[in-house]
Symmetry: none
Amino acid sequence: MGKRKNSEKYHRIIEAATKIFADKGFYQTKISEIAREAGVADGTIYIYFENKDDILISLFEERMKEVLDNMREQVSKEGDPVKKLETFALAHLRLVEQNKSMAEIIQVELRQSSKFMKEYKNEQFLEYLELIAEIIRQGQRKGIFRKDIIPGVAKRAFFGALDEMSRFWVLSSRKQYDISTAARQISGYFLTGIKA
Amino acid sequence: MGKRKNSEKYHRIIEAATKIFADKGFYQTKISEIAREAGVADGTIYIYFENKDDILISLFEERMKEVLDNMREQVSKEGDPVKKLETFALAHLRLVEQNKSMAEIIQVELRQSSKFMKEYKNEQFLEYLELIAEIIRQGQRKGIFRKDIIPGVAKRAFFGALDEMSRFWVLSSRKQYDISTAARQISGYFLTGIKA
Amino acid sequence: MGKRKNSEKYHRIIEAATKIFADKGFYQTKISEIAREAGVADGTIYIYFENKDDILISLFEERMKEVLDNMREQVSKEGDPVKKLETFALAHLRLVEQNKSMAEIIQVELRQSSKFMKEYKNEQFLEYLELIAEIIRQGQRKGIFRKDIIPGVAKRAFFGALDEMSRFWVLSSRKQYDISTAARQISGYFLTGIKA
Amino acid sequence: MGKRKNSEKYHRIIEAATKIFADKGFYQTKISEIAREAGVADGTIYIYFENKDDILISLFEERMKEVLDNMREQVSKEGDPVKKLETFALAHLRLVEQNKSMAEIIQVELRQSSKFMKEYKNEQFLEYLELIAEIIRQGQRKGIFRKDIIPGVAKRAFFGALDEMSRFWVLSSRKQYDISTAARQISGYFLTGIKA
DNA sequence: TATGAATGAGAATTCATTCAT
DNA sequence: CATGAATGAATTCTCATTCAT
C-alpha cells in the first residue's frame, strides 16, 4: 500500500501536522490532535505514515523539494550574481512570510532539533545552502566578488542573516519593517561587503 | 525552598544537564539520566529545581548572564565601533568553541524550541542582540556607519551570520576553517556593507 | 448469511489460517495475514466467518470431524481390541505426521488455550478420547484387559502418551525414530500394562 | 534496574500473574489486572520486569527450578527404579493438585504457546523429562526394564500419560478419581509394560 | 537534605471489524 | 459477493514527579 501520496487524506494529514507542529512543537503535539485537525481517525494516520517521526520528515521533504525547485528557477532567471543574491533574499523572506507554519517547523524542529539533526541527513537543506555558494563562486569567476571570500563561510553568513531575520518574523507578532525592506538591507550590506 | 545556587550539587546538576541536553535534546533526556550523570538521586534534582523545564531555564540564565557580562566588558574595551563589532564576532565564535554543549542547547532548545520560545521571554538573549544594535547606533552617530542602516535589522543579520556559522561548527565534526578566519570574514563583509 | 461452506474461498481461508495459526499462534496472527495468504481481501473473511475466533473453531470442527470418522472406520476394521489400539496409535501418529499444521493448532491453540478450552466445549475431541475408552471397555468385556483398569484414566494415559510423542514430533525438526517405531513402542507397553 | 528478586513486591507480582494468567491466559491478561491483583501501580511492574513476556518467563523459571529440585530429591530417596517411577507419578500429580494455577500456565502458555515454545528454549522442562529417561536407563542397566525400550520415547509416553491426566484435573471441576488412584494406575500399566 | 521505589497519567501504536463503493 | 480504506477502542510501556524513610 505504500504511501498513497496522491491521496487527499495524505495531504490533509500533512496540512494538519504542519499547523500543529508549528504551533506546539513536535514533542508536544499528540497524534490524536493531528488526527482531529485532519478530520480522520487516529489509526488512519498510520495508514499513510510509519510513525510520528515519519510525518515530520515527510512533511519536510514534500515541501522542501518544492521550495528548492522554485528557488532554483527564480535565481536562474537572473544572469547577474548580484541580482541573483538579491532575488534569493527576497524570495526567501517571501516564502517565509507565506508559509509561516512550515518555516517555523523547519527552523525549530528540523534544522534544530537534535533528534532530527543527528539522525536525518538533511540533504535538501544543504542543497539550498549550496545554491548560495554557487552564486558566490560564479560572481568570483566573473570578477564581481572578491576572491578572498570563502563561499562556504559566506553562504552561511548570508543564509544566517536571512534566517535570523525570518525567525524574528515568524515568532514576533507585529512586524516593524516590511519584508522587501529587510531583504534589501540584508542583501545590501552583504553584497557591498563581498563585492570586489 | 529557593534555589540553593551556591550548593555544589546545584552546579553538578546544571553541568550534567548541559551535557546531556546538548547530546540528546531536551525531550529525549530523562531526569534519571541527568541524576546519574550528576551523581545524585532522581529526587535530589527536585530539591534544587522546580521541574525539568526549570533545569533548562536555570542552566540558560546561569550561563547567559556570565556570557553577557563578559561580552559587554570586552566590547567596552574598544572605542571604535568597527573594532567593537570585530571583537564581538571573534568573542562570540570563541565562546561557542569553548562551550560547545551550551551553544548547542541555546541554539536547539532555547532559541528554537517553540515551547520555550513562546512561554519564556528570553530577556538575556534580547539584550545580547541589543548589544550589537547599540554598537551600530553608536557608529551611525559617529558617522562611521551609513545612516540608512536599520539597527534592528542589522543586528539580526550580523548575529544570524555568526549564528549560522556556529551552528555549522557545533554540529559538524571536522572544521574546515579556523574560528578567527570565519570571524574576520563575517565581520569583514558585514562592516564593509554598513560602512558609510 | 450462513457459512457458504461449499465455496472455494471458504476453504482457501481455512487453509491459510491453518498454516499461519500453526506457525505463529492464534493471537499473533493478524486477519490481514490470513487474507493475504488466502488471496482475498480482509473484509471477505467476514463474509465467511463471524470473527477471528470463528475461524479457529471452524477450522477445527471441519477437520476434526473428518479425522474422527476416519479413525472410527480404521478401528472398526479390526475385531481384536489389542489390534484396535495398535491401529489407533499408528493412525494417530500418521495423522499428525501428515497434518503437522493442524496437529500443532489442536495442541497449542485449541486443546490448550484457556480461552478456547473454557468457552468452547470441545465435543469432537472428547469423542476422540471416548473411542479409546470404548476399545478398552470392549477388551475388558472380552476378558483381554484387566478389570481393574479404569477406562477414563487409561484413555487419557494412552492418548497423553501419543500426544506427548506427537508434540515432540511437531515441534522438533529432526526426528530420531520413525513413526511406526514410536507407535509400536507406545502401544506396546501400554498394552502389556493393561492386559489381563 | 536489576531484578530485586528478593523484594516482596516481586513475589506479589509473580503471585498475581500466576493467578490471572492461569485464569484467563497470557494474551487475555492485561498488565493493569496483574497490577491491581498485586496491589501495585501499573508502572511498578516495570521496575521488576522487563515486559509482559518477562513476567511469564520469570514466573516459570522461578517455580520450575523449585519443582525440579524437589522432584530430584524425592526420586533419589528411592533406590529401586520401579519405586522411583511410582514416586515420580505420584509426586507429579500431587504437585499439579497443589499448584493448579502454575500447572495450568505451564501446560497452556509455556509448553504449548507457539510464541514461547519457539522463542524460549525451555531447558528446565527438558531436564524434567530427562529425569524420567534417566530412571528408565538405570532400570535397563539393572535388568529390570526391557532393553528394547527406547528411553527417549518412553519418557515422553510416561510424561504424556501423566500430563494428559493432569490436564483433565486442572481443567475439569469435579474430579472422579483421586490422585493417588490415577497415579497408581498410570505407573501401574506403564511399569508392567516396560518390565523385563 | 538525600534517597530511589512507587506512582499513574499519558501517548503511540495496533488491529479486528465495518461499510460505502 | 468482494473490496480495502477507515475506524477507534484497547493496551503496553514510559517517565516526570512525589514522599516515606
